[in-house]
Symmetry: D2
Subunit: 331 residues, 4 copies
């Protein structure tokens, strides 16, 4: 019974179907009919003009988006536990040619205007210090916590006041929208670029970089190719993304994953390290308890010496979730 | 009737089948059972130890391989019409942090020890000039021409004599092996790293970087992740490659594509700009002739003002090939 | 008798004097009174607004200037024998984060709109090919040849027509102005940035990057510091440059060097490989002849197997020049 | 009365004299007789073989040294207030092609094996996290505090145990040696490379990168040129450094600066924020007090809202120091 990662989940049948339907000759790279539908599809979804590029990974999506917002001699401010800081092997330094990440604090891996200001405002505006050019926030955060629209708005206002760009790492953007019950536009707020994740939510290997600054996308098309991310059979990338948007599959899948996490959380109220708002549950859990859970057939990651991370997927089976909830309750 | 690019070809049914079979929970990234079989599979194929990484594109494969062979302050020597020079958007400069490409001449986009020496030997060994660290050759070349084992051996001997690494861009390596009728080991010769292409030959989006210098692969695993090329559902990448190796599908597909090209070439002897040894045919062809062919339903690229490029795929249909051959003969 | 390089020349007494006068406490980096006079001094000299940064080397000057004109994924077009291509150890690739140099032809290392167009115009405007963003020309060229104002104007018009920036490597800009007998503004023409060299002309270690696009200088101040080129005792850099501008020392020194070269050339009319317009003389000269000259006490570089390069300096001694002229005439 | 920065100090007369003596024709770049004496001079000084490169700035010295110790995908661990982190404009990210700095804690800007371990040891050895490759320590630290030989030895032992390189930023290495009263070899300990500063100690614009790993210097010679730091009249760089070594001028100057700082500190015992071991004094000092000092003619920097930084130089005048000490005592 898998609760290690939403990366381990299956590919959704509708995604398979769309990929197979795409298996007909068409223009290579992103000249195919499906890739050319992306801008319109996301413009509909977000109710404002956007330009969209597919890439295979969240790391590429994040770093190509950030490359549009900060020059090589600049910096991007993010939470000190952000994925771009902790788990992307220094990819921002690569894609941004040595630009720095500056690290802000905040509960549950969410930054605030105050924690951002604590990083940004002491920086002297002189050539000896690396100047911030953008902020990157994660929706939902590394701990499965969701920025409310008002929180995103406050951060966007801070960004504007300091003349900084704003990027949203939305590897689990769908789960955030599902939790908020608002529109995608409201959940994204006034960001310049969004990495909209699909791989953790039922796709195979396709994420969307959504540029609300349409002009910025033009340059990043060159950067995508230069980074080896322009797949020659791009039609299969676009097909995955369009299938996820079709009939709101993306939100349905996210709701399913969130519901599974909520089911687990309900049996573990006293153990929760963070509010459970998306599809991740962080629990205090002794080594003995973790061993007991594993002995009972549950797979998951440790989170330091005294905690566990449980991640649910769109295809979580109800009986597995119920069994896990019961097992935790019985510890 | 498509003769524009082997990128436009379909995904082979066996590849689809293998991908679908991979759609079960397994470790993310390259920790899954399929990814872990790659080293052994290629070690069998090449009859010597190798370490293998999957990536989605030939550009990523080439540039990650080269990153193992040349430092940021060094250079790689390649043919002036090589894909890494002409069609990868400066990706070598990105992945190698500013290293240069030095351009050698040669018939049909093939370099020789002589043309390489003409580039390498005049370089003064002082700090003012960029020093070469590696050579990259393309098997089959940009014009569909194949290095004989003795030619590769001569280049490898030159590389060793000048203390240079040797990389082979094998986007169409299968077609080269099919033409040569030798073993993969003989077609690759004594290179340090090979980009073994599958996308043009029936896969969807997976290429193999084959490191014969096994230690070099260790570093490149970090570089792959840092470049955003470590897909989280890597099992689907490995599945494609293993399916292509299974039952020698890779060579069967390449033979089919080569045979189609040979069929076209046979009707165009007087027009051939390069020997047809793989799956590409370059023809002298006036504008009026090209218009006539297109009017007859054939799609292909111009190659400058007086020539056409015709590329055949593993799934070329015999009647299309015959029709094209007849049409050319009738011009 | 030194004719190897103008780098070997002495520091002019006025430069020494100015440096010693600068040896009083002042603000570090470029906050000192001398550094703050540079913008105005060059604005006077060029009769239009400019922003000026000092750096210690021509390589740094060229590459920081180019960093303002081309992005990491772009290219700069230059002559295939340009210093930035041949003798700067790949510095453009470093400072421009992997951007390419594209190589144009031209007599005496001078490009023309035609040779530039031959490089620029065939580039497809798609993401697979590296797009040119700027042109760099050298005034005087690597062979000591000078662009006439009309030639610079034609190149600038070409640059504008293709939306390219224009940089001038003026390591020997003073020698060019001395030859042309025009104003510095006329010799520079409509370039965006000029590397104005002083080290070869009597300074110790200071060059000026002159930005006619004043806004561009703002960013490059960060880049200069980031490249370790913001010396803490910058007052000594500014002092050198101001001393060279004072009383037109720069042009007087250049005239002296040019006159020395002309003196040598006059005795070698039949041997000249390039017109002698600045302070370099390239001669056909057999090995035996070079040995004879060296035996007579003249130091200079070979230029391939059958030629010699003779460079004169601001402090060339008349008797040495006369002796060399006589020796050549007597070969 | 200047106490803002040792960068504001004068150039020592012996340095001027040596520079003027170097003003004779010699080979350009670092082929001159003076530059070629550096390896031997430092080998004598450190009693073990070393290879030495001059550069004009501490930033260049630090970053070129680090470029020998960490690859682009790696990281360097330093104190969170280290100069390379705080005041070099992101230069490490530039010279190391995107490598990261990882930040350790420690009193008075000195790290310890414990604070280093707190950064290094939690890093998972997998491709998702940036791996540390080197440590950089500052001798004396940003707060003018000095590592004892035993402290350096403990850090070097830690570095070896984790297979990390070790660099020492010695912008004020001379002041550290003067404080310790030991040999330079003892003060440097078992580091792989040392940035030995001279600019703050009486030189004009020359620092030495001392490689105890002699082989590493070979590569960095290419990197120095590529970074535009190979000055063509390098003889003036070498002259400065040799003059500083001559007759132990470097240590005499440092002793003078340290003594001045000690004189100030003696009158400010209750105000000291850090032990005064080199030539920097950090004092608690209210705004009103600072205004009073400035009104009395003393120039210095604020250090946050409630403190002042006073830096003494080799040429500090005894009466200025006495006056400042008295003024502080009288606050």
């Amino acid at each position: 019974m898998q609760f290690t990662s939403d990366n381990a989940a299956a590919v959704h049948p509708s995604v398979w179907k769309a990929m197979m339907a795409a298996d007909a000759p068409d223009a290579p790279y992103d000249g195919d009919a499906l890739s050319r539908r992306l801008d319109a599809a996301f413009t509909d979804l977000f109710e404002r003009e956007c330009a969209v590029l597919w890439v295979a990974t969240g790391t590429a999506a994040n770093c190509l988006a950030l490359a549009a917002l900060a020059p090589p001699h600049g910096a991007v401010v993010c939470h000190r536990e952000a994925h771009i800081e902790m788990d992307e092997a220094g990819a921002p330094g690569f894609f941004l040619h040595g630009a720095k990440l500056l690290l802000a604090d905040g509960e549950s891996a969410k930054v605030t205007p105050q924690t951002l200001a604590a990083v940004v405002d002491p920086i002297r505006d002189d050539v000896h210090q690396v100047q911030p050019h953008a902020i990157s926030i994660t929706q939902a955060s590394e701990y499965g916590c969701v920025y409310r629209p008002a929180e995103v708005a406050a951060i966007a206002a801070f960004a504007r006041s300091r003349k900084l760009g704003l990027h949203m790492d939305g590897a689990r953007f769908a789960n955030a929208v599902a939790h908020l019950g608002c529109s995608p536009a409201e959940a994204a707020g006034d960001v310049d670029a969004l990495s909209f994740g699909f791989v953790k939510n039922g796709a195979m290997g396709a994420e969307a970089i959504v540029f609300f600054d349409v002009e910025a996308a033009r340059t990043i098309r060159y950067r995508r190719k230069r980074a080896g991310h322009l797949q020659s059979k791009g039609r299969f990338m676009a097909a995955q993304i369009l299938a996820m948007l079709e009939g709101d599959l993306w939100i349905a899948n996210a709701r399913a994953a969130n519901a599974a996490a909520a089911g687990i959380a309900a049996s573990a109220r006293d153990r929760l390290l963070h509010p459970v708002e998306a599809n991740e549950v962080f629990l205090t859990c002794t080594l003995a308890e973790r061993e007991a859970l594993r002995a009972a057939g549950f797979a998951f990651y440790d989170w330091g010496p005294d905690a566990a991370r449980l991640v649910t997927s769109w295809d979580a089976q109800a009986e597995h979730v119920a069994a896990l909830a019961a097992a935790i309750a019985g510890l």
